[in-house]
Structures are given as C-alpha cells and as structure tokens.
C-alpha cells in the first residue's frame, strides 16, 4: 500500500471529537469473492432468461471502440429493442464491454469497476485489441490478452467491428447466458489468485485493496 490515502488517519470532527478512520475497512471490502453455486432448476432457467433479456451495460468506454457503442442508441441500430440499456454506475450494470485497447492505467480502473458489479456479470471484449493486442500488440502500455485479467464471455473481432457485429455479439452472449454458461463471476472467484497475480504483474503500483467491492 504505497498511497497515503489508504493509511489510517485521525480526523477531528467539528464538535471536537476525534475519530480514527481506516479507509480500507471503512470504504472497501477486503473479503474474497465467493463462488455462488447456480441451481439447475426451472427457476434458475427462468432467471437466466431474464438476465439474458435485460443487459445493463456499464457506460465505461475504455478505448476507441466506445465510439461504436453510441450508434447502438440511435434509431438506426436501436439496441433497446433487444433489452439492452446503459447504466452509469457499476452497481446496477451487469455487462461490461471492454471497448478496444486497454492501457495499464485504464486496466486498473476497469478491475475496480468490474469488481464493484454484482454477480452474475458478463464481459464482452470488443475489437482485436482485447484478443491479442491488435495493432497495439507490441506497445509498452497496452495489454495483449484480456482473458488473463478478467473472465471474458464473448469476443467480437474486428478493428473496429461495426455496430452490427456488436449486436451479433450480444445475441451470442444471450445464447450463452440462457444455456447457463454465463458464470464469469464464479470463474473469477474460483481462479481469483491466478487473476490477481496476472493483474499485479502489469499494475506495478497496486495501491488498492485486493478485492474492492
């Protein structure tokens, strides 16, 4: 913990009372994520259908691909008719679109946002950059393989893919969720140590709790 922001600090309240605040305990949660075993009954199947048909995308554009998501709101493509909406906060979203290249600095924010989303949650890797680095494959600052840092459900290849390709990706994701394969959050919880090791290998100034949801 290199950052002073995360150390215990004493504050004096306006009425003179002194309180000690430990930001890690007060503002974050350091508990590891837990695997929630999905049921295999008809209720879960119904819920999976509801999850697939109501995808709330986190409004977080990480790279140039974010420009491809904007036309989806317009009359021409209109993603709303597929049950897709945008949400401003990770607490309410259940789909994270990594839109294009991901620099190390952004990856840190992406991990924090992803961990704040509530399970079950899904990730779509948009564009070649998330698959193997794309045209930034030999860059000093952009990651090459997204699936080493976050569990990815669907990749949409292209540089950049058109909005139609993205819509096809949504349909593919819906099929996966309805088949009960959209268990990215559980995979993340199960292989938590592996993901954390990979993340810490590239994020050298790790100044946040290991799991901050």
């Amino acid at each position: 913990m290199s950052n002073d922001l995360y150390n215990k600090t004493k504050y004096t309240l306006p009425d003179g009372q002194e309180v000690e605040i430990d930001p890690i305990r007060e503002y974050f949660c350091e508990d590891r994520p837990e695997v929630v075993e999905p049921n295999r009954n008809i209720v879960e199947r119904f819920f999976n259908w509801a999850r697939a048909e109501s995808l709330f995308i986190l409004g977080f554009g990480t790279g140039c691909g974010a420009i491809e998501m904007r036309p989806l709101m317009t009359p021409r493509f209109d993603a709303y008719r597929f049950g897709i909406q945008w949400r401003p906060t990770p607490r309410q979203a259940n789909l994270f679109i990594i839109s294009g290249y991901l620099s190390v600095k952004t990856l840190k924010r992406v991990i924090r946002s992803y961990e704040q989303m509530q399970a079950p949650k899904f990730v779509i890797g948009l564009g070649s950059c998330t698959i193997n680095g794309g045209m930034y494959w030999d860059s000093y600052n952009t990651i090459n393989r997204l699936d080493h840092y976050l569990p990815v459900d669907v990749y949409v290849a292209g540089c950049m893919p058109r909005p139609e390709a993205l819509l096809a990706g949504f349909e593919e994701l819906k099929k996966r969720i309805k088949a009960g394969k959209g268990e990215g959050a559980n995979i993340y919880a199960r292989d938590f140590d592996w993901y954390k090791a990979n993340q810490k290998q590239v994020i050298t100034d790790w100044d946040m709790p290991d799991y901050n949801w």
């Binding site: 949660c29 929630v36 509801a50 109501s54 317009t74 049950g83 949400r87 906060t89 607490r91 509530q118």
Partner: protein, 305 residues
C-alpha cells in the same frame, strides 16, 4: 365508514393491480417515447424483465441499516400515498383506507420517499449523493408550491380536507369536475404535476448520464428492484390523486386505467416536446408562472366564496 379486516386483502390486491398497471404503462410510455424519436423502442414487457433480473442478482452490497431503509421508505411513500387515496370511488372494496387520511397526510406522503432516499443515500458513502439529493429536493419543493396553492384553492372551494368528499362533490358528469368548476387551480396543479413526474423537462435530477452522482448510484440488485417497483407504483399513485382531485375520480378499474393513461400522457407529451431545464432554471420557472397561477386560483376562489 367502518373498518373490516378483509379490506387489508383488498388493499394488497389493489396495490398489486396498480403495480402491474404501472409497469405496463412504463413500457408503453417508453415505446411511445421511442417512436417519437423514430426508434423501434424496447419491448412493452421489458420493465417486467428488468424487475425479475434485478430480483435475481446473486450478490448484494450494503452500507448499514439506513442504506436498507432508503428504498423501503421510498416504497412506503409510494404505497402509502396510494392506500390513503380512494382508488375506486364508491367501491366498498377498493376505497382503501381513504376514510382515515386527508389531504395533509397525502401531502406528507408525496415527500416521504424522497426524504427516505436522502437518509439512505447519505449512508451509501458516495461523496456526491448529498448534492444529488439537494438538487432533487430543491426542485421537488419548488414544484410543491403551486401544487399546495392549488390544493388550498380546492379546500376553500369544497370546504373539506377529505379526498373522498371532494370526489363525491364531482360526481354526476364532466360539468361537475374541478377541471371545469375551478380551471385556474387545475392549470396550476397540472404544471406542478410535471415537476413531480420525473420526466423531461424536469428530470435532470434523475438523468443518469448527466449526473452520475445522484442518490440511487450505490443501490444494487434487490434494493434497485425495490426502487424500480416504486417507480411503477408512485407515479400512478400520483396520477390517481390528481384524478380524484381534478378529474372526477374513477368509479371502476377500466375508468381508472383510461383516465390514468391520459393524465400520464400529459407529462409524456410535454416530456418528448421540450428539452431539459437545469435545476436552477426549473426552480425559477416553478416560482414564476405556476406560482402566479396558483395565487390567482386562491384569489378567485376566496372572492367567489
């Protein structure tokens, strides 16, 4: 009117009906809004799917007791408002508990939910939720001023605080509705109605992309679903209240649905036609035109009486 225990069951049933009407209306309105924007629009049953999905989220984060109570208060505000209004006039089953409450109580319930959210969002630890709440409350307060003036005009006109009595006085045809007998107060109240329906031009306090600092930011999964349920109930409860005060109430469920749809459409029509006000602009607007009309309504009624 005497109280019978069976009325509790009927009250629950009426809340259930109003929730479904609200959800369908939400989808329908979203569809109409989309069609105005030349989009195909979401499916009409999409609000149901969203609700099921949010109730099915497996994990949840909470920040203390007050955080839980925020959505609960909000839902209480919606249901409470609805339960103290006579939903169906003259029906022994769906009059709810209107015999027990009056306009003063209802005015409190209009505000109750937002105050509950203020307490809950403050507990959420989000540094800017206080700003979001302050903006929302400031605009709501400004919108309440013409509404209260209009309600006072009605109280002077009918010489009662009971909603049931007011509805009773409006029975017997369109010519007896407050809309006709007291048009100035109706105009003031319908302008105030726009401000409390959380649609454009008065929804900057809620618009998520412009202000990702608002009160519901931290609410997730089931808590979010409770807020969504309230989003279905609360506007319709308000619509029913306005229906009772100004448009003769409803004597049957179909009449309630049809009248409710048209009153709701008033806010939608304005919403799709006009761009948004900033909060300071909307407060100034409410304290100018609707306020003046409200004062005028009171003057007219007092001079008549």
């Amino acid at each position: 009117m005497t109280f019978k225990p069976i009325q509790i069951l009927y009250a629950l049933l009426s809340v259930f009906i109003i929730m479904n009407v609200g959800l369908v209306l939400q989808g329908l309105i979203a569809k109409i809004g989309a069609r105005v924007g030349r989009r195909y629009g979401m499916r009409i049953y999409q609000p149901y799917i969203d609700l099921f999905k949010n109730y099915s989220i497996r994990t949840s984060v909470y920040h203390g007791y007050m955080f839980f109570l925020g959505p609960v208060f909000r839902l209480t505000g919606g249901i409470g408002l609805f339960l103290f209004i006579p939903a169906i006039y003259g029906s022994p089953y769906f009059g709810n508990f209107s015999f027990a409450g009056d306009l003063v109580l209802i005015s409190y319930f209009l505000f109750f939910g937002t105050l509950g959210m203020a307490l809950g969002a403050g507990e959420g630890g989000h540094p800017y939720s206080g700003i979001g709440i302050a903006r929302g409350l400031a605009q709501m307060t400004a919108a309440e001023v013409p509404l209260v003036l209009a309600i006072m005009a009605l109280v002077v006109q009918y010489k009662t605080l009971s909603v049931t009595t007011m509805v009773a006085a409006q029975q017997g045809g369109v010519m007896h509705w407050t809309m006709v007998t007291n048009p100035v107060a109706t105009i003031a109240a319908m302008l105030a109605f726009l401000g409390s329906m959380m649609r454009a031009p008065f929804n900057v306090v809620l618009a998520p992309q412009e202000i990702p600092i608002g009160p519901p930011t931290e609410y997730n999964s089931t808590l979010m679903a409770i807020l969504q349920t309230n989003r279905a109930i609360f506007p319709l409860a308000k619509v029913v209240l306005f229906m009772n005060l100004f448009f003769g109430g409803a004597t049957s469920w179909p009449e309630l649905v049809v009248k409710g749809f048209f009153i709701y459409m008033w806010s939608v029509l304005v919403g799709v036609s006009f761009p948004r006000f900033r909060v300071d602009q909307s407060i100034r607007w409410f304290l100018k035109v609707p306020f003046a009309i409200g004062v005028l309504a009171i003057l007219i009624v007092s001079l008549k009486g």
